[in-house]
Amino acid sequence: MVKSDLELIGLRPSPYVNRVQYALNLKSIDYEFLEEKFGSKTDLLLQSNPIHKKVPVLIHAGKPICESLIILQYIDETWTSATPILPSDPYDCAIARFWAAYIDDKWYPSLKDVRMAQEEEAKVAAIERVVEGLALLEEAFAKCSKGKSFFSGDSIGYLDIAFGCFLGWLRATEKIADLKLLDKAKTPGLVGWAERFCSNDAVKDVMPKTDMLVEIAMILRAMSKAPTPK
């Protein structure tokens, strides 16, 4: 392991936090995980990320870096001798960033809508958006991977991490909503990729178990239903 003065403030079920863990594991970088608790934020978190007050925050030699995708790029640009995460070609880089932004801005919010929806109509509409998104991502996978195992090629990279971090929640949502979202018939490329991603050494011990995420989802859903105190 490469020695480093690194701390990661996070919550283990958070896919955004998991992204950082995957990247650090891929580069064999040692770090200390500082676990936050649900419902309360430590002084360290509030000091390190005063603007958004969110996890993950990576603290390197005392300096905080916030926003998971920004942290991924920081890790890649700092530990350059290990496997690169971002593509070297500027165009491939732009494509990877584009899809990561799409996943964060459009696709994952739709997935959240599926498990949080209170009414059937809203749930159905959200499922449709998720499935449409997966079709786009299947196409993107074919173009980016060029027949190789991952979006980035032979090894896991930026877009694999940006998307793969949500696989646990995808499975949890499938269980809660009792449907199949990643389908061998419709998205065979992504199904194969998901299996390879989840079984990778950098990923398998970090990705939260589906049952735990189902439990958390139920709690979050109940909390959002609860009437706002006056």
Partner: protein, 219 residues
């Protein structure tokens, strides 16, 4: 072989202006195509099928979408002249953080200022000024967000300055009175040709906003 660069944008778009500024900083010649957002061109729909939005940069036939991704692409391809992102990884992370903050906060906060009235507008004005004050804090005593040099965050943010007159007139307030440091920074940026040539006349923006308000039935 010369590079073929095309930009699809709409003149009032602050995020489209980012691309123009970045290309001007790098001295890159390009063809500009104005889009009518009520009637999007087949080219736009082909080049950005996922979002169908401007701006789009088309470099030798290949499209790049999303303004901050485009600006980074421009910085990486034409890397010799006027680098926009710093070379230090921590400084780069800070620059990306603040550009992301601008994206997350300023557009919506500004929009609420011109598109609301009464109490809602008062709340919107406060929120907008609060965001500018946060940015003033990040700027500190530096001439630019990037430090001594005009850079990524400056490019991301300065286009909104062309909308300030429209915000101020709609909201009946002075942004300079609340955030003098911010306006001083903006004026410094406007001295750069890449910026002054890429931003529209604020009065033209105001006329555009007035038409939008009529369409939306505001005032």
């Amino acid at each position: 072989m010369a590079d073929e660069v095309v930009v699809l944008s709409a003149w009032p778009s602050m995020i489209g202006m980012r691309v123009k500024i970045a290309l001007a900083e790098k001295g890159v010649k390009y063809e500009y195509k104005e889009e009518d957002l009520a009637n999007k061109s087949p080219l736009l729909l082909k080049m950005n099928p996922v979002h169908k939005k401007i701006p789009v940069l088309i470099h030798n036939g290949k499209p790049v979408c999303e303004s901050l991704i485009i600006v980074q692409y421009i910085d990486e391809v034409w890397k010799e002249k006027n680098p926009l992102l710093p070379s230090d990884p921590y400084e780069r992370a800070q620059a990306r953080f603040w550009a992301d903050y601008v994206d997350k906060k300023i557009y919506d906060a500004g929009r609420k200022v011109w598109s609301t009235k009464g109490e809602e507008q008062e709340v919107a004005k406060k929120e907008f000024i609060d965001c500018l004050k946060v940015l003033e804090g990040a700027l500190g005593d530096k001439p630019y967000f990037g430090g001594e040099k005009f850079g990524f965050v400056d490019v991301s943010l300065i286009p909104f300055y062309s909308w300030f007159y429209a915000y101020e007139t709609s909201g009946n307030f002075s942004i300079e009175a609340e955030c003098p440091k911010f306006v001083a920074w903006a004026n410094r940026c406007m001295e750069r040709e890449s910026v002054s040539k890429s931003l529209p006349d604020p009065h033209r923006v105001y006329d555009f906003v007035s038409r939008q308000k009529k369409k939306l039935g505001i005032e």
